[in-house]
Amino acid sequence: MEKNNTMSKKFNRFFNEYSIIIIFAVMVAILAVLKPQFIAASNIISMIRQVSLIGILAMGMMLVIINGGVDLSAGAQIALVSVVCSLFAQETQNNLLLAIILSIAMGLFCGLVNGILITGPKIPPFIATLGMTNIAKGMALLFCDGQPIQVENKVILWLGSYRIGSGDWAMPVLILIFLGCALINHIVLRKTHFGKKVYALGGNEQAARVCGVSVEKTRICVYLLLSLYAAIAGILISGRVGAGATSNGIEYHLDAIASCVIGGVSMKGGVGNVLGVVVGVLIMGALQNGLNIMGVSPYWQQICKGLIIIVAVVADTMKKGSDK
């Protein structure tokens, strides 16, 4: 009896926390009925691959949001890194390592500036990162003079487009990197002191300070980590599309933020988990993919996308609310 009770409690808690999974399942079921191709292996793989980059970014974004902030410049950072990486891979006679180090450094620089602005003079994250968006875009334009830069480097191209194995289930490297990032993010958030601090800071900054959390350091690290994820996405996107361009991933931050919130991360900070965000990312992917597969016209796609973002979040809040 006792045991049963705790079992059902655990069950309840699980569904409370992960009610979004049910929403996702319902969505997939509907799409599968409407268009059976939707659940074909090749389409599932393709769908996940499409959201992998947003997913990688969402891993960083969730850190920032749990920490109580937001970053609008992440998309521009991806574009910047994509340009810088393609440029250096070309310029340095394809010295890959150097190109990667330089482009990641470029990304981290943006993150550092964001972090310092937000912790030091306490600029609201929305504004600091809005400013950074302009700066990163401008830098990207300067670096490439507005022209896409072809990527010739085999490794970068491989990262972006290779699939391991063969057949329908052949696994794109991109998906593996996404899952790897998710796993690392999970460990960072749940198993390290740093993760605990991130939650604490988002939960109550003043209390975290009193508990000896170095608020500034932690917060800067969070923005650095987001930039690291953005830089990874930036390098991968160059490989995926075969060129570094200022338009690469420039709006991904919006999808990443939406995925986080759909996945249960609270914009007020302090709440969120990796599994939820991964499901949130998949919902965004299934949505986009489903609309395309069903041949919905571009105008209606916009409307549907808006509606489904809202419906997913409403359904999730309702679900959680009803258990109160």
Binding site: S46, K137, L141, D145, G146, V241, N292, M294
Partner: protein, 311 residues
Amino acid sequence: KEESAATPEASEESAATSADEKDSVETMKITVSIASFDNTFASFTMSRMKLFNEEHPELEITYLDAANDAATQVTQIEQAVINGTQAVICLAVDAKQTQPIISACHDANVPLIAFNRVFEGCDTFVGANNADAGRLVAERVGELLNGSGKIALVQGIMGQANTYERTDAITATLKEKYPDIEIVLDGAADWKRDKALELVETWLQSGTEFDAIIALNDDAGLGCQQALAADGKESIPVISINGDPSGINGVNDGILDSTAFQAPFTQADAALEIAMDYIQGGTPTDVFKVDYELITKDNVADYMQFTSLEK
């Protein structure tokens, strides 16, 4: 007719401007307002203009980015006129939203050159016509498919002139000349490579067959091709528009079937030359039309010179 429109203040203003410039009589102030810099064609022509500027140091060119907002463009040009520019070259955000620009220029007697996108009321139009591009690629598809088949259309940002003008011409041409060619898939890639890639990947999954893709710009075309290649469907031809360096290279490498080339260098040079002519009191032509030319495997060698800036 422009003389009659000139107001007393405007002539005062131009008097003030010329007084300003006694010491450097030669300088010619030209304003170039571009719908959005965030676009391969625009940045390429702009680079070309800078090159032109090096050869003609007497030009003082100001480049303005309207960031795809018509109201911003109107204001920028109004301000440029107020601040004494002598000629305006305008790649309009939208042809239908240019009335205030026209009045601003005409009231101050500043020549207005419509660049790349024609609008009524300009003094000179330099550029190619989106409708021609649409017609050209539609005809190419018609030839490739021998007049019947299914195609997919990858558009740019919905609501922008480049998108709907090109799309309209494509559909009109197909309807008129190749009624058996059907557009079975239609999506927006916002001019971006990554979006086009995703779009085509999904289309390939959807099971809808298609025999060719028309992309409204080269970047999107290259993205489409990448998705096709990954699925082993390189044989499906991709036809795009613009003739950007990456597009020309794409045709050369056999990645793209063809692209409609709109000679950005010629357009850039011509716009500046005509502006100079106006300022020096000449009466340049009303229309300097650059015809779109279809670059295919057969003639790509002639166009390789346009993949880099140097003359």
